[in-house]
């Protein structure tokens, strides 16, 4: 009894004596909360390595993978591959946005276009971008273009379809107001259609950037000699499973960053009216 009491006192004393900065702030606690699953994963990984009995060549542990990561970072290959992948995703994704969003608006706001093109889009949409790999290589050869083409395909359809359904769902009363105030066609587009679909577009972008990031790795395993997908493939051929895992980790981290970037975009006040309203 005495011991516990004494112990408690000791803790309280510690709490008081600690400087402000060292005490656990709510922000830090939140961060700790988010980090917990990662710590658990790391621990589980280490345990699995320890008790599975597989050789480090087959199943490297966290330490080996960290060492591999350090090597890859030090000689700059990792950065090079990551940049190559990001470049392809960026180009393909921008092309998909440039084509998909206007097409989606057209489909959503103009019945005849929707009636004509919808069946074709619904037919092409379920075909995995990966199924296009042979054709892409045949048409665009080796290098960036086929990979960019595949990424374009992977984000173009989801973007088009979500834009179309968002544009079709705009309340008619807004167009009445536009007509009442004599909006020009351009004004209808910039003052009504685009801001009205913006929240949905951001959601669609968030989803399709994830898909694009999934596809780039697969595309890079076939047509190119750079990028994270190539890194993984190359490491497998060299039987360096630690490098394979490094590639996977970097893919995960970058995917997470892309997602939070999109989330941040959606937080602007003029953009998020849709999620805050009602």
């Amino acid at each position: 009894m005495d011991g516990i009491k004494y112990f408690g006192k000791n803790i309280a004393f510690l709490g008081r004596a600690l400087p402000e900065a060292v005490r656990i702030s709510p922000a830090f606690r939140r961060r700790l909360f988010k980090a917990l699953p990662f710590i658990a994963m790391l621990a589980a990984w280490q345990m699995a390595v320890r008790f599975s009995g597989w050789s480090p060549q087959v199943f490297p542990g966290p330490v080996a993978v960290a060492a591999g990561m350090w090597e890859l970072m030090e000689n700059g290959t990792l950065l090079g591959h990551a940049v190559a992948s990001l470049f392809r995703v960026t180009v393909g994704f921008y092309l998909a946005m440039l084509a998909g969003i206007p097409l989606g608006i057209l489909l959503g706001r103009w019945q005849p276009a929707a009636q004509m093109l919808n069946p074709a889009i619904q037919f092409l949409r379920p075909i995995s971008p990966l199924a296009w790999i042979p054709l892409a290589m045949l048409w665009f050869g080796i290098g960036d273009p086929p990979a960019i083409f595949l990424i374009f395909l992977s984000s173009f359809f989801p973007l088009t379809v979500s834009t179309a359904s968002a544009a079709a769902a705009i309340k008619p009363v807004y167009f009445h107001v536009g007509a009442n105030f004599r909006f020009s066609r351009i004004e209808v587009l910039t003052k009504i259609v685009m801001p009205a679909i913006l929240p949905d577009i951001l959601t669609a972008l968030r989803i399709s950037v994830t898909i694009a990031w999934l596809v780039v790795v697969a595309a890079e395993m076939i047509a190119v000699t750079s990028g994270l997908g190539f890194l993984i493939l190359d490491a497998r051929n060299g039987l360096r499973m630690d490098y394979v895992m490094d590639g996977m980790i970097v893919i995960g981290v970058i995917g997470m960053c892309l997602d939070s970037l999109m989330m941040r975009l959606a937080r602007f006040e003029s953009v998020c009216w849709g999620t805050l309203a009602s």
Binding site: K171, V173, H176, N180, F181, R182, L198
Partner: protein
């Protein structure tokens, strides 16, 4: 300006229901036309405040939309100032029954829509501010509609309509969703504004007292298919009060009876 003549307007909607629901569409099958407006003849004079009353679903909004040019009628015509209405117009501003503020624009941007063509930026700003202050939304200029209460949204919408200074103004139940005091105040405000600018205002309302206190002319419509049941010019001096004017009170009881309520409260 703002003379409106409605000649023989009829309107029906196509029944898309395959299963009968409401008793008043019994015997009417999918694909049939449901008559909503039946041969409406009305004439409103320059600068009048017209209040349209009628049971819910009788076609008041439909009539108003037709007058403002948002919808075509099946038969008949609407002529405003000698011109047949064939579409929406800047001179005929419509305030919709359900809020139609652009949720992606601030109050200032919404109100500014009507004066966006003014070349003089400064004058534009002054006009916007003037009307925002008129509906007592100063301090809320940079808020988005979802940050305002329902009543404030209605007021912002009124400001957006008024800033245009239109020839005619169409209000579809502009006071719904307002609290009692704001309702009274807006009633006063719209009446005062009407006396000041002298434009024709056509207002749909379900509030008989609104109509009697504000209107220069009231129109009572019947249930569907609706025709005009009563048109009455009100010459009572303002401010009006039922308790002090027996003839106004009699009219009020008469309208209540007409709309199916036996004892006006």
């Amino acid at each position: 300006m703002g003379h409106i003549r409605i000649a023989g307007v009829s309107k029906g909607y196509i029944n898309r229901r395959t299963v009968q629901r409401s008793p008043d569409t019994a015997g009417c099958f999918a694909g049939d036309r449901i008559a909503v407006l039946d041969d409406i003849h009305l004439e409103f004079h320059d600068g009048e405040m017209v209040c349209i009353l009628g049971p819910s679903g009788c076609g008041k909004s439909t009539l108003l939309r037709i007058i403002a040019g948002f919808e075509a009628c099946d038969r008949g015509s609407v002529v405003i100032d000698g011109r047949t209405v064939d579409g929406p117009d800047r001179e005929h501003i419509f305030v919709f029954q359900h809020t139609a503020l652009f949720p992606w624009m601030t109050v200032r941007e919404n109100v500014g829509l009507g004066v966006r063509h003014l070349a003089d930026r400064k004058e534009q700003g002054i006009r916007i501010q003037e009307y925002i202050e008129m509906v007592e939304l100063d301090g809320f200029e940079d808020r988005y509609p979802h940050q305002l209460s329902g009543g404030m949204q209605r007021r912002a919408e009124l400001a957006r309509a008024l800033v245009v200074n239109p020839e005619t103004l169409f209000l579809d139940e502009p006071f719904t969703g307002l609290d009692f005091l704001t309702h009274m105040k807006m009633r006063e405000e719209v009446t005062a504004m009407h006396e000041f600018i002298g434009k024709t205002i056509v207002m749909v309302t379900h509030d008989i007292d609104d109509a009697l206190i504000m209107g220069d002319r009231i129109v009572v419509m019947s249930g569907r298919p609706s025709h005009v049941k009563l048109v009455r010019k009100l010459d009572f001096p303002r401010p009006r009060d039922f308790r002090k004017s027996p003839s106004l009170n009699d009219l009020r009881n008469e309208i209540f009876l007409m709309l199916g309520v036996n004892y006006a409260v």
